[in-house]
């Protein structure tokens, strides 16, 4: 028998039809389905340019069964804040019926961390009643795996290649977008992973219920850019959580809480090994780099534990059976 969340979701209409041209095993469409099916209200979606937009909106066809708007790469936040303001104005004038409508924007890490940051920042600062979901696959996958500011340290991309002279891959650490969103003082910020659908759907539901801007940062494994098996997409999404590379937490009205505590914190090497983009680390036997990545992860995780303080959940472990 499905649990309560899935029973609720199974009663909702399918938001994203099949037949789109996303790669086999892409997590972006899984995230979209899980997020939108967490609410029963009608949804308006804005989409930044990226894999998701390109593959679901090949003119004249569309995969979306919900209202959907795409404008440009840099302005998913601005576009959706305009839609939301128009909706409020028309409702106030009585030109459209009183009805609860949710607004959600989807952007990849390129459209969120880099190119769309200014419009997202403005939308969050103005406090529009919208949810911004970043599906973070850690590079510009749509144009052929170029590095972005979300690419983790040591990852091979076509613009941060691991070669014979520069053997390290990307030599900079990733940007902490969740912290940047938090600095805007918006009412709801969360980090989630599609591997734990209960966590993602719970956070999506809370984000939709929040009045004001909400930001969800969701890890999205990419079989193409990460050189992994398509079948392992959600296994990797869970492994990222269990190695504390991608901790799950939420900040609601300034109150921080960890929503998932791994049963045992796995070493980061288990997360690096299955991925082709870190293959050079093992080929060169670069233990210094592995130690550096592990130290970064440990430091960030300890920061979160300190911040959670006494509010660390008693029940650890996965929510799947």
């Amino acid at each position: 028998m499905p649990n309560e969340q899935l029973t609720f979701a199974s009663k909702q209409a399918e938001p994203l039809a099949g037949g789109h041209s996303l790669c086999a095993g892409c997590a972006a469409s899984i995230i979209v389905r899980q997020v939108i099916m967490a609410t029963e209200d009608p949804v308006v979606v804005a989409n930044a340019t990226g894999c998701l937009e390109v593959c679901t909106g090949i003119y004249p066809t569309t995969s979306w069964n919900v209202s959907w708007i795409h404008n440009a790469f840099a302005n998913a936040g601005a576009t959706l804040s305009g839609v939301e303001s128009a909706y409020r104005a028309l409702r106030k004038r009585g030109e459209i019926p009183e009805r609860e409508i949710k607004f959600v924007a989807f952007g990849g890490d390129g459209g969120t961390y880099d190119i769309g940051l200014q419009s997202l920042s403005g939308a969050m600062e103005r406090g529009h009643d919208m949810v911004y979901v970043c599906y973070d696959n850690g590079a510009y996958m749509n144009t052929g795996v170029q590095r972005s500011s979300a690419t983790p340290l040591g990852a091979h991309t076509t613009t941060s290649p691991a070669g014979t002279l520069m053997t390290i891959g990307k030599s900079e650490i990733r940007k902490d977008m969740t912290a940047i969103a938090e600095a805007h003082g918006i009412p709801y910020i969360a980090q989630s992973s599609p591997g734990y659908y209960m966590d993602l759907m719970y956070k999506a539901k809370r984000a939709f219920q929040t009045k004001g801007a909400a930001f969800l940062n969701v890890m999205s494994p990419c079989p193409l850019g990460w050189s992994t098996e398509p079948a392992d997409t959600l296994v990797l999404a869970r492994l990222a959580v269990d190695t504390c590379v991608w901790p799950l937490f939420e900040i609601a009205e300034g109150e921080f809480s960890l929503t998932y505590l791994p049963l045992e914190k796995k070493p980061v090497i288990e997360w690096l090994q299955p991925q082709g983009r870190f293959r050079h680390i093992f080929k060169n036997n670069d233990e210094g780099l592995i130690d550096r990545i592990q130290a970064d992860v440990d430091r960030d995780w300890q920061k979160l534990l300190d911040r959670a303080g006494d509010a660390i959940p008693d029940i650890a472990g996965p929510v799947r059976f």
Partner: protein
């Protein structure tokens, strides 16, 4: 060539003034009429054994291509027109249930 834009394009697609303003696509979910099943190629196809299935819906919620068709909240079949054979469903099916298996595509001819 006297005219830059021919009145009737050779490919039979609508010309510019027949398109809705703003490039609006009015046919929601129209990619569902596309066939993407050929992407499985020589790969694998998931088969579901509904006698073993406990209807936990993990496959349905984890499918990137919305292939699992629900009737009254129960998984009834897989849409092979959309399935790209990624195999996520077989991984997500609980280990003690194992109702979904991946079978080599060539066995179906």
């Amino acid at each position: 060539m006297s005219s830059l834009a021919p009145d009737v394009p050779a490919n039979g697609l609508p010309i510019w003034d027949e398109l809705p303003p703003g490039g609006v696509s009015e046919d929601a979910g129209s990619t569902s009429r596309r066939t993407m099943g050929f992407w499985r190629g020589g790969g694998q196809r998931p088969l579901i054994d509904l006698n073993l299935c406990v209807q936990c819906l993990h496959c349905w919620v984890s499918c990137p291509d919305a292939c699992f068709i629900l009737e009254d909240g129960q998984v009834t079949c897989i849409n092979y027109d959309h399935c790209k054979g990624c195999g996520i469903c077989a991984n997500e099916c609980p280990p003690m249930v194992n109702a979904i298996v991946l079978v080599e595509e060539r066995r179906f001819g």
